[in-house]
Amino acid sequence: MSRYLTLSALAVLFLFPLVWSGYASLEEPANYLEMAQFGEGVGTYATNSLLVSVMTVAGTLIVSALGGYGFARFDFPGKNLLFLATLAILMVPYATILIPLYVLLGYIGLQNSLVGLSLVFVMFQLPFALFMMRNAFEALPRELEEAALVDGCGTFRAFTRILLQAVRPALITVGLFAFLASWNDFFAPLILLNDGASFTLPVAVVSMTQQTFGAIDYGMLQAGVMVMAFPCLILFIVLQRHYVRGFMSGALRG
């Protein structure tokens, strides 16, 4: 019983800030109206965030599903080298390659672009995603694929028609990690986007504390926090099982 008392006290400590933020933002419903008009309008920033997240999730799923299948079922020269190079992304501190990425995206016309930002997020997600997807495809019985091949499908049709269905849980896990990372990230958009109209939510809402002349509107700030946090809280609660599988898979160990 004393364990449950400790747990409950701790749960209150952990949940209190979230509950308070929700309460503080709703205390004055006008907070949300003011925020809607902040800067370019919260609608613009939320749309940017959503676009980036959707592109990141789609990009990560496509690249890692194709790659995972290739790594699980085919042998080709340079296979191990490419796999190690992908995992090496985990070893290299993310903050240290954003400055050259900023310059490099300029060379290919993707500076200050939501597409460029999404591609960078896909790259950062790739080691985890590729590892998850390769393991998922390896775990499938070969008979599944062979049956499709015997039926006259090419490997690509077998892949899209049958195998993708079979690895759906892994796809959900990879997609969830990609969404949370791209929706929440602050540092990469801060560096890679430089015009207010293309800001994502975290950059825009943080700028509320740094650009307002005079007093900071704390109520509006908490409304901003809620707009950022709410989708993640809901998604996490609904897809928790899939999130935990990401941990269990050992992919973090890379």
């Binding site: 290739g70 992304i89 070893m91 240290t96 050259p100």
Partner: protein, 304 residues
């Protein structure tokens, strides 16, 4: 670390026509091609570019000119960076110790599948689903003396008499930031540890108990040693993450007061976008990169 590359495309030693195998090689490459492009263009190329940039005077706008090794030499003269290194190391040490202790405590409390435990696991993890920038802004409001609820609560409980300078003094700013980081990351680390705890077979515990081991002995003689690889993973992630701290200081303390909470990555950012010196920022990046890859390699060898 524990990754092994398995060769899975088993090649039958007989009967496979070589043309078919060549086509499988090509197909394999086609499936892996998007990965190769992303890794090549967005990872390998910037790694090369950052080294090249660090050897040049590289203004934010305008022409780059070769000036090696000036960018590296001037790192030693950058007092902000030297202070930031010391501050970041201190922050990393304190955060890692406290975060690991809290995460281990939480993991032990929720490791058994008892009724209601799922709720507590979710409650502890939930802050981890919130972005770090949002979490920083949440604390920024919550600890504000006029707007936040914490000061009135502490005062009505008689714990403090006057508003606390949560981010107003260097030590308090560090303390508040670490509280924020523990709140945000304890659940994440708890989940990592849970994967390790659940891999320990229950028979091992039963055997120890039947040999008359008490709880403390079970914890120190069985749980901790068997949890070592998972603890090591958590420590490595926590140390690396703390050494690269940026969001929490940029959003929550803004480096203040008096530049007392400026982390190493913040100096890189300021050099690049406030002093428009991308070459200098690249040199700092290279130093951080080499130091962290080296540190990670050593830690993986030692801790495993």
């Amino acid at each position: 670390m524990t990754l092994t590359i398995t060769r899975s495309g088993r090649r039958p030693a007989h009967s496979a026509p070589s043309a078919r195998w060549r086509s499988r090689k090509v197909q394999g490459w086609l499936y892996a091609a998007p990965t190769a492009v992303i890794v090549g263009v967005l990872f390998i190329a910037p790694l090369v570019l950052v080294v090249w940039m660090s050897l040049n005077r590289w203004p934010l706008l305008g022409q780059a000119t070769f000036n090696a090794p000036t960018n590296y030499v001037k790192i030693a003269d950058n007092p902000l960076f030297v202070d930031a290194v010391l501050f970041t190391l201190k922050y990393t040490a304190i955060t890692t110790v406290l975060l690991s202790a809290v995460a281990l405590g939480l993991a032990l409390l929720v490791q058994d599948r008892k009724p209601g435990i799922g709720f507590f696991r979710t409650a502890f993890f939930l802050p981890g689903a919130v972005g770090f920038a949002a979490a920083g802004l949440l604390f920024y409001g919550m600890l504000n003396n006029d707007f936040g609820p914490i000061d009135p609560m502490l005062q009505s409980l008689g714990i403090t008499d006057e508003p606390v300078k949560w981010i107003g003094t260097p030590n308090m700013a560090l303390f508040s930031t670490i509280t924020l980081v523990i709140w945000r990351f304890a659940g994440f680390n708890m989940l990592i540890l849970l994967t390790g705890l659940q891999a320990i077979p229950t028979e091992v515990y039963e055997a120890a108990r039947s040999d008359g081991a008490n709880r403390w002995q079970v914890f120190t003689k069985i749980t901790l040693p068997l949890l070592r690889p998972t603890l090591a993973l958590m420590l490595i992630l926590s140390i690396t993450g703390s050494l690269l701290a940026f969001d929490q200081f940029f959003v929550f303390t803004n480096g203040g007061p008096d530049n007392s909470t400026v982390s190493m990555v913040m100096v890189v950012y300021r050099d690049a976008f406030f002093r428009f010196d991308l070459g200098g920022a690249a040199a700092l990046s290279v130093v951080l990169l080499v130091a962290l890859v080296g540190l990670n390699t050593v830690m993986m060898r030692r801790l495993r």
